[in-house]
């Protein structure tokens, strides 16, 4: 299961788009948008960019990855490099 938070639903609703309309705009099935909104599917970079353009919001605002885990990994890597 992808480890991220997806705020697509909020931005889609702000743009007054249905899942079907958004799916047609970005060339995927509605089921794919449903799974994306539930963070049950990790999209490709192209799809993420297409979605961000369709809802007029930067990608990092729509898909938020676990920052704590990201920071701990980052710190671990830096420590490893030092040693």
């Amino acid at each position: 299961m992808p480890d991220f938070v997806c705020r697509l639903k909020r931005y889609r609703q702000l743009m007054d788009l249905t899942q079907e309309q958004l799916a047609n705009q970005v060339g995927v099935r509605r089921e794919t948008i449903m799974r994306l909104e539930k963070a049950q599917y990790n999209p490709s970079l192209k799809l993420a960019v297409d979605i961000s353009r369709a809802v007029g919001t930067p990608i990092e605002e729509i898909f938020i990855f676990d920052l704590e885990e990201f920071n701990s990994r980052d710190t671990g890597e830096k420590n490893g490099e030092k040693n």
Partner: protein
């Protein structure tokens, strides 16, 4: 295929059949049934009366080549259309019933007893056609990136399962000592490989459907 070319193909087929029937009749009546009944071609000597059968044979071969070329052309056109449409092909889930033809594989036990023919065991592959049931359920579906990803995943799992079976069957049956009989070992190997291929065909469709429909969110539209 356009209607005109269908008509031409059928017309040519009928002409070929008529020429073959006519030359066969001629051979039976006037040429001692040469080329109609099996003959030893190693001692063959040409006769003028053989000409109708030879010509009809050549025409028949050309017709088969023509059919083959037409088939290739249709496949190529369909592939081109398929690549541009991004939709899965339309298939009726009832085609899955073709899987029952897999039971014809059991005919092999009968033919082996009768005249040592083992080919019918290959028909176990037809069990794989049960996969058409799931392929039909996914017919006319947009092949977006999630579909393609699921398809790769399903094919990978199906191939892996089939390869494991074939690998272990090869190692086990390769010793050639099943019930102390090499023929039985060969038959067991044919059956195992046929079933592994059937499993591969079935699983690739079944798993694709399962991956595509698993954990479907309850919330539908927002």
């Amino acid at each position: 295929m356009k209607k005109n070319s269908t008509k031409i193909t059928i017309f040519l087929g009928v002409i070929c059949a008529l020429i073959t029937a006519g030359s066969s009749w001629y051979s039976v009546v006037f040429n001692d049934s040469r080329f109609v009944v099996p003959m030893d071609l190693s001692v063959y000597a040409f006769r003028m009366q053989d000409l109708p059968m030879i010509v009809s044979g050549i025409l028949f071969a050309l017709y088969i080549l023509y059919l083959f070329a037409m088939l290739m052309r249709i496949i190529r056109i369909k592939k081109q259309n398929g690549a541009s449409s991004r939709m899965t092909k339309r298939a009726d889930p009832r085609l899955g019933l073709l899987g029952f033809f897999g039971f014809t594989g059991f005919l092999g036990f009968w033919t082996y007893q009768a005249d040592k023919t083992v080919f019918p065991f290959v028909f176990f592959i037809f069990f794989g056609f049960f996969g058409f049931f799931y392929e039909g359920k996914l017919s006319a579906t947009l092949m977006d990136e999630r579909y393609c990803e699921n398809k790769l995943k399903a094919n990978y799992s199906a191939n892996k399962a089939a390869m494991y079976i074939i690998f272990f069957a090869t190692v086990f049956l390769g010793q050639g000592t099943l019930m102390g009989n090499l023929e039985y070992t060969f038959i067991a190997y044919i059956i195992t490989v046929a079933l592994a291929i059937a499993l591969n065909l079935f699983l690739s469709s079944f798993l694709l459907y399962r991956y595509d429909h698993e954990e479907l969110p309850k919330e539908s539209e927002g």
